[in-house]
Symmetry: C2
Subunit: 224 residues, 2 copies
């Protein structure tokens, strides 16, 4: 029984790794779309989101089958329940990347952002690209050090997010009203990707370490 559980759980872990890879690509490519603006990249993210959704459905399916057939308890049960939640988190990161790509497509061939916002969004995207790479490392190695780094660094993204508001409120801002709307939404989407990254990292730390399942970390601290 134990052997079957481990084998089936390895298959789920493979799907989760694939999911992390797909989400990482979506994050990188939506950034490329935004900073271009690059319509082809935007379309790639939009079209690719379905594959992420399907991976989530597959993970849910496998986890439910596992619960039904193997009736895991203790640590095994905790891993399955946390994996379900982790898959939902990844799925939402894919959605957010798609939202960014959709904003790019809406305003193309213009950029959704005015030139004075470029530097700030480049820095936010650089942060998210690092996060995306770390997600892949974290999942392929169940690496809690990488996960902890994700959690610690999130403040930087929150600061950049705050700076987007400061910019919009400053005299430096020359953008249109539509660009103001897009700036607020895009910055929010990017901040949310970071928040979900933290949520995913907490969950991996939780899966790898060995707590009481009732102490399952809250999905997201202060976010929707």
């Amino acid at each position: 029984m134990r052997k079957i559980f481990n084998e089936e759980m390895r298959q789920v872990a493979d799907d989760m790794e694939q999911m992390a890879g797909a989400v990482s690509r979506a994050i990188h490519t939506s950034g490329q779309a935004l900073l271009g603006p690059d319509l082809q990249a935007a379309q790639e993210v939009i079209d690719g989101d379905q594959a992420i959704d399907q991976l989530e459905a597959s993970v849910i399916d496998q986890c439910v089958q596992l619960l039904a057939k193997q009736s895991p308890v203790a640590t095994d049960l905790r891993v399955v329940v946390s994996t379900l939640r982790l898959a939902a988190t990844f799925e939402r990161m894919g959605d957010l990347s798609r939202h960014i790509a959709e904003a790019v497509r809406r305003s193309y061939p213009d950029s959704p952002l005015p030139p004075e916002a470029r530097d700030l969004f480049e820095r936010m995207q650089a942060f998210l690209n690092t996060l995306a790479d770390r997600l892949v490392d974290m999942m392929s190695e169940r690496n809690t050090k990488v996960a902890e780094q994700i959690i610690v660094d999130d403040d930087q993204l929150d600061q950049l997010h705050q700076q987007t508001f400061d910019l919009a409120l400053s005299d430096q801002w020359q953008g249109s009203k539509q660009q103001m709307i897009d700036l607020v939404l895009l910055a929010r989407f990017m901040e949310r990707i970071g928040d979900h990254g933290v949520s995913a990292a907490r969950r991996v730390v939780y899966i790898v370490s060995g707590f009481d399942p009732s102490k399952d970390p809250k999905d997201l601290e202060d976010i929707d």
Copy 2:
């Protein structure tokens, strides 16, 4: 065993009903805070969010215990897994109400919105108040008719959300830049409460009807 499962599941259902009630109050009260502006109402929502988080933790705990002790299969298993996801959805609706309350507190004694946005936000809030009441009915009676009504009506909120952008882009708009930022964020929070309401309604339809667990409805269609 069956009897124990039903009894324990009834306790979870009680907590879920309580959660729906707390979320409903948060939605109503954050609307009152926004449309006042009413600082006391805002503070009430902010302070009350912890109780919603604790209910979610309690539901997770009970569901994990149920999975461990009773090893439910088939429909019972589907109900437990869906309940876990439903609790996460409610928890996020509480977070979003808190975000609205925090925006009110930030700008108090001023309103975060200019007068020309009032009518539109009153209509959005009226929609959300109806949604909040329906959530309570849906959970207390496992009423799929109410759930279906929630799903069908969501288009109305999406249209109102779109109108907030139209207003901000029109000549009618007299608000400050800060109010433009707040309008975009507040409208997004409110639209997201609606989306999560739809997600909760789909899940209840799913729990009450009898599908294959692998066909678990996607949490949220096109949202983070």
